[in-house]
Symmetry: none
Subunit: 301 residues, 2 copies
């Protein structure tokens, strides 16, 4: 049977090269060749069978097995598993060395990796910078609101729609407005106890500030979701939820990272509200799921 995996990985795997050096003197010439190959290219050797490694080193299977034994493994099979582990560690070790700027000549693999990395970074930043006090206050206001209006244009408009879609699904009355005129005319209808949320990365988007100002003056609880906590929009905001502002590059416009950040904030709002209204939210979510079922074709299996 195979050696217990704890023993394989329990002893520092990085010590393999060291072990080779220590034991080299007590090895025969052929075995040294095998050990050397293993120490130099663990990943490559992990891909080889006994026969393969024997051929590569110009030796025989028997020698390979003998070497594996000398290195402390029950057989070649286990040495190979350890090598695979070592290779994986080496890989992960040099992972974080990404230049995050996306260049024109980057391969698609790089693009995917860098984008994913950047967005992860954005999420971490946002989570770290989010004021849960403000967030809690916003949730409280939403739960109590008669109705909620959400303003956002451009990319932020989609975030606004995302939020309203979700709030509607748990029984709240929410509307998203991308049209500045309609937004203002609707804002006029708001009154104390209602909630208005403005989503703008720059915090300077007039089309969004204007309706928020109106809502503010009508006495509604106003919330600004912005990357600039000192921007004009916050003048009319009772509560400010700060999104993260990450460096933008030529190929990665600000809209991309701000969207990620805004969505996280919006998700937090949603989950916060869902928690507080669990009694009604849970069945509502289940019901909306059910209602959609018939619009899906049966899966292939």
């Amino acid at each position: 049977m195979t050696q217990d995996v704890k023993e394989i990985f329990g002893s520092p795997v990085g010590s393999l090269a060291a072990k080779v050096r220590t034991l080299a003197p007590s090895m025969t010439r052929s075995m040294q060749r095998v050990a050397e190959a293993v120490a130099n290219d663990p990943a490559g050797c992990a891909a080889l069978t006994v026969t393969g490694l024997a051929e590569l080193t110009g030796t025989s299977e028997a020698t390979v097995v003998r070497t594996a034994r000398l290195l402390g493994y029950p057989g070649y099979r286990d040495l190979r598993l350890a090598l695979a582990g070592l290779a994986a560690q080496q890989q992960s070790g040099r992972a974080p060395a990404i230049t995050t700027d996306i260049a024109v000549d980057d391969s698609l693999d790089d693009v995917v990796a860098k984008l994913a990395y950047e967005e992860q970074q954005t999420l971490a930043d946002t989570a770290a910078g989010l004021d849960t006090g403000q967030l809690g206050a916003a949730v409280t206001a939403l739960v109590a609101a008669r109705r909620t209006d959400v303003y956002g244009v451009g990319a932020s408009g989609l975030v606004a729609q995302d939020l309203t879609q979700k709030l509607l699904r748990i029984g709240l009355i929410a509307h998203a407005h991308s049209d500045p005129h309609l937004a203002v005319t609707n804002a006029v209808q708001l009154r104390s106890g209602d909630v208005a949320i403005a989503i703008t990365h720059s915090g300077t988007t007039g089309d969004v500030i204007e309706p928020l100002r109106v809502a503010f003056e009508r006495g509604a609880t106003t919330v600004a979701v912005t990357g600039r906590p000192d921007a004009p929009v916050t003048q009319y905001a009772d509560l400010v939820l700060t999104t993260s502002t990450s460096r933008e590059t030529e190929l990665r416009p600000a809209a991309m990272s701000s969207r990620t950040s805004q969505l996280l904030v919006v998700d937090c709002l949603f989950v916060g509200v869902a928690q507080r209204t669990y009694e009604t939210a849970a069945p509502a979510l289940a019901a909306s799921y059910e209602a959609l079922a018939h619009r899906h074709r049966s899966a292939s299996r």
Copy 2:
């Protein structure tokens, strides 16, 4: 011969759990048991032979091999190697071990942390599972397309809009359709050389499949962005971009993580296209930025 080691470790090993989730629906009961065992205890399974794992899961060797194949390895031997690598990685980088499930009585701090963590996880999984070959082909098709239609309803509709917004900004002709009827009537206009993209997490949304089918039959290049690579929608897709499928909980509907995943894919498409058309894309981006400037109020400081 054994699979090239670069392929085993080239893609982040952490993707295994994600792959299991993605493929689980298309698995048979026995295979699911095996996949589950592997996902839950990679280290333990790495120590087992086919027979051992078959006994542990109460199945047969054949089933174990079949599962390994489904997960993308040539056979059990290679899966085992990958598991050893995974185990080693887990050892070195201590597992975050957060209970990611969001409970009703979690504090807002917990909610923020868990949501951010889950979304980060989703991004990593998506990046790991994305086929850059398919992605590249999709980019090529987009660059050459006379026009591009994007279909998506519900939450995916917002992603569709996000994509078209961005493509428009770099001079491509793209439309998003959330209305199934309009989508179909527009799809009829497509012809060879055009591109149609369907975005659906489940891959079974009839409202989105139908226009894609029409586009497919008209000879357009069709792309499916879905979490289920074996779903009905892929029947009519020349190219499939797989989004990640993460566990959904009561307070965190699937729509939330699929949206994150879909957005990453869409961003990758966008950046890929922007790279290829850099000469025109860069000035176009700058110009659209300029055009919006006058809609922003000057910052307070």
